[in-house]
Amino acid sequence: MNERAAHPPALAPVWPLTEAQSGLWYAQQLAPDNPSFNTAHALWIEGELDVDTFRAAADQTVREAQSLSLALRHGEKGPEQWLDAARTPWLEFVDLSAQDDPRAAARAAMRQDMDTPLNPLRDALALQRLYRLGARQYVWYQRAHHLANDGYGMALWTTRVCELYAGGTQHAPLGALQAVVDEDLAYREGDKRAKDAAHWREAFTPMPEVAGMAPGRAVSAHTCHRREIALDADLRARLLAFAERLGQTWPDLLTALTALYCLRMAGAAQTVLGIPYMGRLGSTSARATATVMNVLPLRVAATPDTALDEFIRELSVTQLRARRHGRYRSEQLRRDLGLLGGQRRLHGALINVQPFYRPVDLKGVRAELEILGTGPIDDITIGFRGDGTQLLDLEIEANPDLYSAASVDAHLARLPAFLEAALEARTVGDIPLASPVEAQRYLFEVNATEHPVPDTTLTALIEAGMARDTQATALEFEDSALSYAELEQRTRALAEALRAQGVGADTLVAVALPRSLELLIALVAVLRAGGAYLPLDLAHPPERLNRVVGLAKPLLALVRPDDAGKLPASLPTLFPRDWPAQAAGRTLPTVQPQHAAYVIYTSGSTGEPKGVLIEHRAIVNRLEWMRQFYGFQPDERILQKTPATFDVSVWEFFLPLTTGCTLVIAPPEAHRDPAWLASILREQRIGTCHFVPSMLSAFLADPAARGIQMQRIFCSGEELPASLRDRLHATLSSELHNLYGPTEAAVDVSYWEAGKDDHAVPIPIGYPVWNTWLYVLDERMRPLPAGVVGDLYLGGVQLARGYLGRDDLTAERFIADPHRPGQRIYKTGDIARWREDGAVVFLGRSDHQVKLRGLRIELGEIEAAVVSSPAVLRAEVLVREDRAGDKRLVAYVQPAPQGDGFDEEQLRAHLRTHVAARVPDYMVPAAFVELADWPVTANGKLDRNALPAPAITIDAGRPAQTDTERALAQIYADVLGLPGGTLPGAEADFFDLGGDSLAAVDLLLRIQERWQRNPGLGSLFATPTVEALAAAIDAEEVRFDSGLAPLIQLAAGDPAQAPLFVIHPAGGIAWGYRHLARLLARPAPGPSRSVFGLQSPALAPDHPLPHSIDALAEEYVRRVLEVQPRGPIHLLGWSVGGILAQAMAVALNAQGHQAGLVALLDAYPADVWRDEPEPTPIQALRALLAVAGYDPEGHPELTTREAVIGFLRQGDSALGNLPEAALEGVVRVVTDTNRLIRQHRHQPYAGTLLHVRAALDHAAKPQLRAETWLPYAARLDTLEIPMLHAHMTSPEASALIAPALLVRL
């Protein structure tokens, strides 16, 4: 931004920017390469256009439309503007008719101009071109930077040209810009502004959460999606009649219904939307081009029972009240509400109804207006243009980072259907969200899964499989194997024995065997005997085994003698040694498809196990789908490693047998041992196996997994994270398939291929399998459109018969299908959403549905943000409520093995900033817990209940040991209000425990009380753990407050990067830079930097200041070189610190060292002060207020030394809490430094100074501007941020400054 400033002609009036312009100015300054500030229209013309007349009209219009000729520069009090005739956008004529495709050529030319970011300091802001496309074809292109015009002004520009072209003399010329500037100034200086500010602050405190329709952070992209359709006449007429009936205007009605649509689509009970406010009515700007438009936040809340007419009326009144304060800028409101710099936004979608829009009427020709750009789009803008009766276009502009083109099209189709449905609705909840087309699609089209499957039984399929090749190997286990012929014999023999015991259709046989050949023989035999098997896991607690046996009442158990004691004594048993080896040849029963095949018990939410009964028909569908869909062949080898009590085992057992494959049975404990598994996979030449994602993650982390080649890996049982898919493909070679299904529906009901080329995030659970349907329904059982979260239901042939012996539960969960008469559906209790391609995304359990502050949170989105850091291998995020009512998001992370050299504390800090840059702030976990191993259940799933409470960070490291550590741990606990009895461990981090800078001061005071010494804030920031701080307290040298040491480390970053040295302002203390330091040490992208603070040596008693600034600078340079002996030396100083930074840069150069970045935060050379009257001691003292973060102008009552010190003592600033001697030191430094500054003569520095100006300040001192440094620097790089001088090191200012520094470091 090193500009050669343009200058206004001597007599031209020079204006400050209006408030509306200022907001855009700063936004563009922060994103100088973003071209979306360009607003433009294209008017496509067909007919006999009189080009000369058109040119005259176009040129006359831009003569009148003064804002289009604006020039800007950095002025004394901030950016300034004037009218520059040289920039008037006279009509350019471009003949493209000779081009092959003139239309396309014109489009490309316009596109190119639109995509070129303007530099408002250098470039003309507006441009207009008439492209000739052919004999009777033209397109007129008008473009203006948003600083020069808004949407209303663009329409004025177009209309005025049409008026003049038609020869109209009855219309007045456009208005002058002076009036707009005057009106802005009058408002800024009037009382109304303060009243408006109070209204908004009150209305938005506390600030409601803003729920958006699309996940992600809303930051304006460089382009936007833009689509429009016309609403049909019938809908228009009915909407107008509806408005009439309600006694509302139709724009208010449309706004209300669209707001409701946004609220429903966001799945929230409340949100805030933005309503553009033109600000032209009753204003001199009514006929002036300019940027005047404002955006008013509109809070919207409704429950399903809210009466629709009531909702519309209330929103209309809210809008009326909002308009009364409509001139108060939303940028200012953001500042008032503290929404700057952070993640939180003021509003989500914009709703813009423009009832005065008329089609463009250009005399004698056909003209069609196309809007090319209206300015930056953060989220989505839903607009309606037209008069309602003749025309009403729905127009959507959306940020492509948040919305796909398809989702924009879907909104464009869905919203009119929503409006249509609203006409018939009584309550807010009556309106279905899906359009009729979407309802059809998401109920039926995506579920068109009919596929012929033989009406047979699992038994019959297995028998056919056994008969295929009797000599082929059916089973392998450790060193033994069974051929299909042997398997046939053994199972037939046992089946006969079971028949003899009375086993038949729908009788249960418990199978309580470890993985072995006997296990498979038992299962197949039970099926061949016509019974259903009930798997029991002998590792389960005896109470559970007793309970399950008591509920299921199996006829007998197949169990080893050693294990029989684990089962109830009343249950008859048949030991493997007693199984007959040879069949007697008795006829086995014919099993029917509706007979039970197996019963698997799952844990109910109440803790009472529920037995799911699956019939043959259901599991046949599942197995036949899998066999055919994935093309399994008889020569394949499939690993069986899932416990029989987990239904995944069902396909592992039987898919090989129905296909004729070899089933390789893993040794009983192998499924939990990654290295063992890897050797089995390799040595046994396994082609297909299953992993629960938790186990897969552990498996891939084992070096033995590298390079394994397999045909297929199936995952189910848990969410499959996208990062795990990517790790798999980077580690080994195999297809990867993600399956989903509850036990209640024959293993799996949906599938997704997560292959090498799959980049879906999150990974969907996919599409329904054969003869199966998936529904995502709202609470009224209506289908939901893609992207909206609802309850997941399943239907089809694979559904279980129900819960064994629990007809009540069965009736509750297996309900009549409202959309397919005569069918049943199962309510999974999971929440999910459709993707536009018809795949389902699983979002978790509805009973664990995560809502914080009323907003639904997608944990997967947070997990994706965490694992996007290369430092993380795996992450799980959940909500914990370790203390009643205290819900917290906790992220569990497993660091990547190669690591980034982070220690635990650095990793947490890194992740916090990393995640905060990717998700809204309410989704940033409160705690990050590092894990090396993941607790898993017997089935290999992540055992969420076994994850440690984040208190782990409290007792981080060993317990406190020394007296000092123990006492300090107690002080941490007291200051932070840790739960009773909890003592932080030696490595617990004060800030991670929830400490903020306020608590830090409290902590230091208590340390002072206890030990009569104070390690200082500096030490606390650098080493915030109990251990390190205790060491500092114990260290002999800590006599005086080392927080006041001449050099303190404010934040620790990457030691390989040159640190930044920040130089104290007037008070001599550098702690104020702590916010900036933390941001630089933990930036989202890029390398982190250590930050050191230079503090005045005169803070210590009896240590006078050197005799000059140059001497002081040389002393500082010595200190800096001790830390960083070689350049580049990066320097930054605020206020007086800036003067010192420049002097240090000069001194460094003189000594042959290289200064790097030299940044001055709102600092001005000594010359500026020299001519001013010498400040009195009390004036100097008042400067301390600024150092402490107060605006001195806000406290005129503090006129004595005692008053200033007393005020500081009462306040919460760190300065006010300093020990007495230290505050004395500060006071002394303020006065002495001031004297030195006045005597200082700057030397020129042969490098670049970066100057960051506090643009909201200096109204009374216009001489304070960056250019004052020009005599003392070879080059000047300038930046302005919307802050007061006193706030230049505040968190908000730091958030703006840090990114600018990072790109320059």
């Binding site: 009439e244 009832p355 005065f356």
Partner: protein
Amino acid sequence: MSTPSATSAPLTLDRIRSEIAGIIHESPEDIGLDDSLVDWGLDSLRLLNLITAWNQTGLQLDMSELAGQLTLNAIWKVIRQRQAGA
């Protein structure tokens, strides 16, 4: 919306005051003659609807004549001039 009663009786200051008050949900006496009606939340479409109703008394008011300065006094002044001229 609450359309002002269409009547062809000549407009009075009281009538325009009460109709404007109705539209912004306020009592007529609360609206000062020189108050900015924009600051009371009046919007263009509601103003247009009022003008349309007032024009049924035989006036030919145009939105642009009233939109520049929006106070009761300013509106009344334009209407009175028009009534006198008609």
